[in-house]
């Protein structure tokens, strides 16, 4: 298979030599080399990210661990395989974009950026403190490697659509990835964006829905259950893939399929467990937006070690 973007690699001074290792693989420069990580390596990075997540939320005494732990496997799977970016030049204009629309799950993003070396341990240690690189909700003004200022739900898919339209106008094949929460689909603007994506025949935009079934106050079935999210996106003209959002093979397969097809927008419904990886946080609405106590942190770190 021909390597896409070869000219661009030369223009940014990266020597692209590595043989692609899957049918859909695009060459990606990151972690200081061109790599695509295997399942075991990805799961190990996700484990380290989980430790970052619980530690930074504990240290801050506030934050959203539940939705960060449900989302992190997909994020690691994306950055570790198809996502085109340059860790040494996070502002590279023709990078793919990752738009974290559920901006309260910022610890997941910060942990990924930390593992990539884009932000430091001291950055994540200062999470939510005055002047910190790591604001409470992800913010492109404050953090290298963050592509969107989130925090108000329902806006990221529209922003991603704007990035996708601009990329097409520039004849760039960069892919735009948006992550939204399942509760976030209660915002009407999500469906405005879904409709406009189909109308404008956008194929370089993909959305992953973190389907953990819990929102701020309680389970979605109590607050406002949306039902079959995949069927709804499908009815708006999107290709839909349903996956176990903690199965790295399913994650990377779905990412590969969506990345390689720039003719259709993909909605990947990632069925996840809120708080995944920390027993007392799993499927527990109270850890949507609560920090673990000192004692709970010890237990969490034991479970993640």
């Amino acid at each position: 298979m021909l390597v896409k973007y070869q000219p661009m690699y030369w223009t940014i001074g990266v020597i692209a030599l590595q043989t692609i290792n899957s049918q859909f693989q695009r060459q990606v420069f990151k972690w200081g080399a061109i790599i695509s990580l295997g399942e075991g390596q990805l799961m190990e990075i996700a484990r380290k990210c989980r430790i970052d997540i619980v530690e930074m939320v504990h240290k801050a005494g506030a934050g959203h661990p539940g939705g960060s732990l449900s989302a992190i496997d997909f994020i690691v799977g994306l950055y570790g395989t198809e996502f085109r970016f340059d860790a040494k030049n996070p502002n590279w204009e023709d990078r793919d974009r990752f738009i974290m629309s559920k901006g309260h799950a910022s610890p997941a993003v910060y942990s990924m950026l930390h593992q990539l070396g884009i932000i430091t341990k001291s950055d994540i240690d200062s999470f939510r403190t005055l002047g910190s690189t790591c604001q409470g909700h992800v913010d492109m003004k404050w953090t290298e490697g963050v592509d969107f200022s989130a925090g108000s739900l329902g806006m990221g898919l529209s922003f991603g659509l704007g990035c996708a339209i601009a990329a097409r106008m520039d004849s760039s094949e960069r892919n735009i990835w948006v992550m939204i929460g399942d509760g976030e689909t209660q915002e009407g603007q999500i469906w405005e964006a879904a409709m406009a994506t189909d109308f404008h025949n956008i194929g370089n935009l993909n959305v992953v829905i973190d389907r953990n079934r819990i929102q701020n106050d309680d389970f979605m079935e109590v607050q406002m259950e949306i039902g079959d999210i995949g069927a709804k996106f499908q009815s708006f003209g999107w290709k839909v893939i349903e996956i176990d959002g903690h199965n790295m093979q399913e994650i990377t397969n779905a990412i590969g399929q969506a990345s390689s097809d720039q003719n259709e927008p993909y909605a990947i419904v990632a069925h996840t467990i809120k708080g995944k990886g920390v027993s007392f946080m799993e499927n527990n609405p109270s850890f949507h937006g609560k920090a673990p106590s000192d004692e709970e942190l010890v237990i969490a770190l034991e479970e993640l070690s």
Partner: protein
Amino acid sequence: MSAPSTGGASRDGYGSALLKLASDPRVVVLEADLGKSTKSCLFRAEHPERTVSMGIAEQNMMLVSAGMASSGKIPFASTFAIFTERAFEQVRNGIARPGLVVHICGSHGGIHTGTDGSSAQSIEDLGIYRTIPNMTVLHPCDDLSAEELTIQLLNHDKPSYTRTARNKVPRVYTEDNVSEIKIGKGNVIKEGNDVAIIACGVMVNEAKIAAQKLSEKGINACIVDMHTIKPLDGDLIHKLARQCGCIVTVEDHSVIGGLGGGVAEYLSRNIPTPLEMVGVNDRFGESGDTSDLMSHLNIDYNAIVSASHAAIKRK
């Protein structure tokens, strides 16, 4: 070149400016099923590949604009002024907070909307956008100044909101002098020492009529086109307060939070001066012929004359 006594509406100036800006390939236009009204249709006809129809979905339009701005484009997004308000939080959180340079145009602002009635009469837009950090807020008075200010936005490094009006009004500027106006600088269009009338939008023309009436009573009013509501030209306001000793603000907008509010904030902090405010007095509008409505709501030239007398008495 002598200017005609009447030109187009300010929305026409916005449309013609977009056409002139098209030579910059970064410029893109977004519309929400009102392109024929806001006049972005002129750009669409010439440059459909750079025009994005968002349907009747203003919230989506604002964030799509933000995404495009983050990707190197200079988006000009328009709809009715009142419907930009529907997406206020999107403008606040999605555009202004990250400082993405999106230029929003709300046409049919104020009660100059035709006879649709209060649902379409935005009388709070200038006030709400003025409260957002990073935003520039413009309200030109005629088609020529609307075109000039919109063209200047190409090199403006902040997001902006421009209110245009539906109706044609006599031109305040000529093609020869309009290039003298600058974003952020109020423009004195008639000197005077008895009272300073600071107006914006379609009310600049009413202020000119009022000044004529006042001159018949021996009162020499200074008239200012304050086309930039934010950042407000404090230096000019200061000078006018010293020069005239009293001020009247005039706007097709609520007296709360808009031009009058901004001038009041400046004066009370810096140079307390008698101030009268002509505007919609904390009420909604209604259907009606525009001139009838202006009279009914006390925002026509008669109201400006009365307010000027009141301000002068308080000196």
